[in-house]
């Protein structure tokens, strides 16, 4: 299990990360979301033992990532957002090189190399030079590299950045397989809808501060309370019905915004919870407005993210 406690990092006087505390249970795919400069990469570099925090600590399975760097490196696999590859090395040699850096024995190196090349679907490129691979293939090879020592925690910083949709879908498939294998994965991405589909839980950072941490459902539930109402009117009633609905809604004190999304679809923002929502519906029905559909607008992760970071 990954545990982060009051982790802070300052670059000079600039606080990049402010007392981040977080827990990720075993076998979870945890999304790390935030706008540029939110502190995602800083957190990931600290967890990968590449950087010392200004204060705070982090543990993987009880091993302190800050103080027990050498031991921690066996438990953590890291794939940075930008990375290069060595020229004049084949894919097999590339993995073999990193396996030797992790002091893995010859037999195990060979076995892991074959398994991982198969996992990332590069077994056919085994003897091809790494610098000749496409970007997507390099990303997959780097993912295989980060798994070469069979780490418990996998840290992936924007693993799908710069990939075409097909390569992204392949990467998604590999991540699902990793979850099935029981790996704990910490993944950051700007492709938020993809994270919402894949992740069990999420952390949203903004300006180095934790804005939200919890399951995707919790986040959606929390945000759906503030989601706008979509009110669809019967088309057979004509334009007068829409005017009547707008007039009626404007009279209600808790309605803050009315938008006409489509000719017969109104999107309404209101100040309040379910009681206010019920009152609005009751009012419309009482005034004989021909409402045929009335529901909270679905919030995908992207919308939620925008809302949350805007508030912060």
């Amino acid at each position: 299990m990954l545990k982060i406690e009051k982790l802070s990092k300052n670059y000079g006087k600039f606080p990049a990360l402010k007392e981040l505390s977080l827990e990720v249970p075993d076998g979870q795919l945890h999304g790390f979301v935030g706008p540029n400069g939110a502190g995602k990469t800083t957190t990931m570099r600290i967890l990968a033992t590449l950087m010392a925090p200004t204060s705070g600590a982090a543990w993987v399975d009880g091993t302190n990532l800050v103080r027990e760097g050498q031991k921690a490196r066996k438990l953590v696999g890291y794939m940075p957002d930008f990375f290069g590859v060595y020229d004049n090395l084949t894919c097999r040699e590339y993995l073999d090189f990193y396996a030797r850096c992790y002091r893995i024995g010859a037999e195990e190196r060979k076995r892991m190399g074959s398994q991982l090349l198969e996992l990332v679907q590069l077994q056919e490129k085994e003897n091809e030079y790494v610098n000749g691979l496409s970007r997507g293939m390099k990303q997959r090879l780097c993912l295989a590299r980060s798994l070469i020592h069979d780490p418990k925690l996998l840290i992936l910083d924007e693993p799908a950045s710069g990939m075409d949709p097909r390569a992204r879908a392949e990467m998604k498939g590999i991540l699902r397989t990793l979850r099935e294998m029981g790996k704990t994965v910490l993944i950051s991405s700007h492709i938020l809808p993809e994270l919402s589909e894949m992740c069990d839980s999420l952390t949203i950072l903004d300006h180095g501060e934790l804005v939200f941490s919890g399951s995707v459902e919790e986040l959606s539930d929390r945000m759906n309370g503030n989601a706008p109402l979509d009110i669809r009117l019967a088309e057979t009633a004509g334009a007068e019905a829409v005017e009547e609905a707008v007039r009626c809604l404007r009279e209600l004190p808790y309605i803050t915004e009315i938008l006409q999304e489509e000719p017969f679809l109104l999107r309404v923002r209101l100040d309040g919870g379910e009681d206010v929502c019920m009152a609005a519906m009751r009012e419309l029905v009482t005034r004989n407005v021909p409402v045929c559909d009335f529901h909270r607008a679905p919030m995908n992760l992207e919308k939620v993210f925008m809302e949350v970071t805007q508030d912060a």
Partner: protein, 302 residues
Amino acid sequence: MLNPILSFSAIRRMRTFRTMLIVIAYEAALLVLAMAITGGFLKDELYLNMMERGPLCYAVMLGAQFVMLFLIAPAMTSGAVAGERERQTLDLLLVTNTGSFRIITGKILESFALLALLIICAVPVECLCLMTGGVTILQILTGTLFLLAVALACSAVGVFCSSMCRSTVASGVMSYIVLLGIGVVTALPFVFGYPRRITDVVYDAELYAELTPAGARAMIPALLYLNPGFGLLSLIQGQLHVLTGYMTGHGWGRIYCTWLMMDRADCGMIAVICAGGLVLVSAALAGGAALLIRRRTQTVKS
């Protein structure tokens, strides 16, 4: 287990055409030099004074290799760590279980391996001197060992500078400056603070006759032992005794006095001390570079 940085970097380097070109150019330059000096012998023209050409050829080739090492080493080592930074592969190395010191020693040894390849490939060329006589194979091998010590020190300086700089170009320039600086700074005792005792002893025949090799070594300023050029001259003088003859009677002052002092101190031993000093400096630089690569990574703002 062999250092993976060393073995894989060597594989990658040896797969490039550039490495082969460097080896060919280096050996060709030495061959041309050797042919130019011993050319008359190869034309079946044999004179008595040609016997002197063997030692001269050897000394010139040793000197030429010494200079070439100083020119080639920074170019070879400048990308050792800075190149990893530019290629964005350093982080991938630092998250492995290979410690910083092992990474640095791998880098130094890999650069050293190429320089060692150049030096060892030059041994057959140096053996051309054997044809004219005046030089033994043992002397050539000793000279090779000294050059290997110099190559190790040059590699260590190059890798140290590479771990300090963010770019390969800056690292290369810095390496040249540092190597030049080491040469100048360690030669300073010749110019400033030259021990007058040396002159006093050399010009006093009685004192000079009583001077033991250890006593003579103690009189030579310690900093001078870290000057690779001083080591090379000691080696050539110790092996061939050709250089004193050039100076006698030319009024070379303190250089001549130092020369005589070196003769008394056993030039071979001075060369050994100098080579040992260079190896120690290399180890110290490796330690410094190992500290630097992690510290430099810490300051990267994401």
